[in-house]
Amino acid sequence: MNPNNYLVLAAILFTIGAYGVLVRRNAIIVFLSVELMLNAANLAFVAAARNTGTLDGLVAAFFVMVVAAAEVVVGLAIIVTIFRTRRSASIDEASLMKY
C-alpha cells in the first residue's frame, strides 16, 4: 500500500475541519472542527514518522494531544462564560469588539 495514502486522508480530514470552521456558527461546533484539524495533523505526524522510520513524529503527536487538551479546557470555559452572559453560543453575536 502506498504510504502516502495516510497523508491524503489527513489532508481530506483537515480540509473538512477547515470547512466546518468557516461555515458553522455554533461556537462548540467550530471548536469541534478545530479538534478534527488537530487530529488530522496528528495522523500526518504518525504516518510521516512511520515513513521515515523514526519515532519523533509520535512524540510530536503526543505533545499535540496535550496542547489540545489544554486548549479545549480554556476554550470551553470561554464558551461557557460567553453563554452565561449572552444566553447564546453563536459566534455571530459575540461582536462587542467589532467597532
Partner: protein, 242 residues
C-alpha cells in the same frame, strides 16, 4: 489486498464519514458524537501505523476525556441549541466551499505528486531501544524533556485559567431572611405558585395548570418553559368549549 489496506479502507472511510457528519448535522450533540466516531477510527489507524501507544492515548484522552467534556458543556449550554441555516454573510457558504475544494485539491495534489518511497517501518527504531514503549519513553524523558516539562506548566496554567473563567461571581449580595420574608408576604404572590402537571391524565412539568376559567397559567411552569414554545397547551379550554 493486505490487511493494512483493508483497515485503512474501512477506518479511513469511516473517519471521513464522521467528519462530514460533523459538518452537516444541525444539532451540536450529533456533531460531537460524529467527531467521537471519527476519532475512534483515527485511533484504529494509529494501530495500523505501528503506534499502539498513541492509539490507546487517542481513545483515552480524545474520545474518553475531551469529547465527553464537550458533551458536558453541551448539556450546560443547551442540548437543543441547533444552528439556524440562514446565511448571515452573503455568499459565505459558496466561498467557503470554493476555498475548501481548492485547499484540499492543492494538498492532495501535492502529496500524490510527491515520490512515494516504501515505508521504512518502526521496527528498527523500536528495537534500538528495546521496545516501542521504551523507545517513546526515551524520546519524551530524555530528548524532549524540556518540552515535556513546559507542557506540564501549560496544563497547570490552563486548569487555573479555566477555573478562573468558569468561576461564578455573585453580582448582588445574598438575600437575607428578612428580605425573603418581605418578598413573600408583601409581594404580588402571597400564596405558593400553582404546580404544573396536576391534571388527572398527565404528570409532566410542561403541562400547565388550568385557571378557574379554563385558560392555562404560565406561572405554574418552571422558568425555562413558556419562552421556547414548549408548553403543552392542548388541554386549554377555549371559548367554544366553555
Amino acid at each position: 489486498m493486505t490487511g493494512e489496506s483493508l483497515v485503512f479502507g474501512v477506518s479511513g472511510t469511516f473517519a471521513v464519514v464522521g467528519a462530514i457528519g460533523m459538518v452537516i448535522s444541525r444539532k451540536a450533540v450529533h456533531s460531537a458524537l460524529w467527531v467521537a466516531f471519527a476519532m475512534i477510527n483515527i485511533a484504529i489507524l494509529y494501530f495500523a501505523l505501528e503506534a499502539p501507544f498513541l492509539g490507546i492515548i487517542q481513545v483515552i484522552v480524545y474520545t474518553g476525556a475531551i469529547m465527553m467534556m464537550f458533551l458536558f458543556v453541551l448539556m450546560m449550554v443547551g442540548v437543543d441549541s441547533s444552528d439556524s441555516l440562514i446565511e448571515t454573510i452573503k455568499g459565505q457558504r459558496v466561498l467557503a466551499s470554493l476555498f475548501a475544494l481548492t485547499f484540499g485539491a492543492m494538498l492532495v495534489g501535492a502529496i500524490t505528486s510527491s515520490l512515494a518511497s516504501p515505508s521504512a517501518g518502526l521496527s528498527t527504531a523500536n528495537d534500538n531501544s528495546g521496545g516501542h514503549i521504551q523507545a517513546i519513553a526515551r524520546l519524551i524523558f530524555r530528548d524532549y524533556v524540556f518540552a515535556f516539562e513546559s507542557l506540564s506548566a501549560l496544563l497547570i496554567t490552563a486548569a487555573v485559567g479555566a477555573i478562573l473563567l468558569a468561576h461564578n461571581e455573585r453580582w448582588e449580595p445574598r438575600k437575607t431572611q428578612d428580605q425573603m420574608q418581605r418578598e413573600r408576604t408583601l409581594g404580588t404572590h402571597i400564596t405558593p405558585l400553582p404546580a404544573p402537571g396536576v391534571l388527572a391524565s398527565t404528570n409532566a412539568v410542561d403541562t400547565p395548570a388550568l385557571l378557574p376559567d379554563g385558560s392555562i397559567s404560565t406561572t405554574s411552569l418552571p422558568g425555562t418553559y413558556g419562552t421556547k414554545g414548549q408548553v403543552d397547551t392542548s388541554r386549554e379550554i377555549t371559548e367554544e368549549g366553555k
